[in-house]
Amino acid sequence: MTTRDALQQIVPFLEDSPAVCATGHIAREVQGLKDRPENFYVIGSMGMCSSIGLGIALSRPDKKVFVLDGDGSVLMNMGNLAVVGALKPKNFIHIVLDNEAYSSTGNQKTLTTAVHLDEVARANGYKTVYRQGANENLTDITQKIIRSEGPAFLLVKVGPDTDKPAPRVKADPDVITKRFMNALGNQVRGSEFIRY
């Protein structure tokens, strides 16, 4: 199973929930599978997708907030797992596609052959932690994680990307911001912030 195969099974569960998508191939693959305004594609600031998702989750408890993350990105901002574990937002769903590599820069190794991110998440205080077992169906386990109490963490081990990567994120960054905020019903109008 590649990252794309895994995302193909996860993306239908996003429905109209906000999803913050990690820098690199993950954002590109999600855009390729289903581009929607509720997707916030992080193109720079590697590692920050989980911090951004947490800020959204804390501010919008009425929404399930997904973070679609990668192993390199989690390792880079591992401290944020502590912030999540300390604050324990029930609506925070952190899904990590772990291919043990930095795929968009040429598949150089990360450290996750040795470091088990699910154990790190558990130690930091995530309420629900799953790691996909060898014979477990990803659709079933994704359904389970969505129904469980957050903060939830799902580790999906995937193989190396073999296909040609999906195209780069098309929308300009400021357009991504505007359409995301509109989709959430948060508009910035003149000097007034309006929260619906």
Binding site: S45, S51, G55, N77, V83
Partner: protein, 172 residues
């Protein structure tokens, strides 16, 4: 608290916080500096504000950016040592995505009068901000609200982050 800050510093913090409230800032996160002591204490203890203790300054910018995307005016507090950690997030997230945050940075090493680890950043901070074209405001204890107004105007009108550099004896 371990520090004994004077009543003047607490008054400055209360005065500044009332300006933040008036301008609808509600979400705060950061990594502390003693120069921001009374302000952080005030934000943590006031029910109208949410303050999240963070682990790194770049993660604080990410968290505050998420709160902004969810419709809240947000600010980050940090020591200028953390400004180094923050550069990538400011330039590759906040500035290009037009996610405006108020970034309150303590000005350690101002005039070279500080511990060795603060001297270089203290000497180069204003030039770094200029080079990055990040608007920066340097209040005194007497014009805190006026400088906050100028920073807030940048945030509201240009949708880019604005920095306030806080020297010692204002909040700590």
């Amino acid at each position: 608290m371990s520090k004994n800050w004077s009543e003047d510093l607490y008054n400055n913090a209360r005065h500044f916080a009332s300006g933040l409230k008036k301008r609808k800032f509600s979400f705060f996160t950061g990594v502390p500096c003693s120069l921001l002591g009374t302000l952080i204490e005030h934000l943590e203890s006031s029910p109208e504000f949410e303050y999240v203790a963070n682990v790194r300054e770049d993660a604080a910018l990410g968290l505050a950016s998420g709160a902004y995307l969810a419709g809240r005016k947000s600010a980050v507090l940090m020591q200028n040592s953390g400004f180094g950690y923050s550069l990538n997030v400011l330039t590759s997230l906040n500035m290009i995505y037009k996610i405006p945050l108020l970034v309150i940075i303590s000005y350690r090493g101002f005039l070279g009068n500080d511990a060795p680890e603060h001297i270089i950043m203290g000497a180069k901070l204003e030039q770094l901000l200029k080079d990055l074209e990040i608007p920066a405001f340097i209040p005194t204890a007497n014009d805190l609200d006026k400088q906050l107004e100028l920073a807030d105007r940048v945030i509201e009108e240009k949708k880019v982050p604005a920095v306030m550099l806080i020297k010692e004896k204002i909040f700590g």
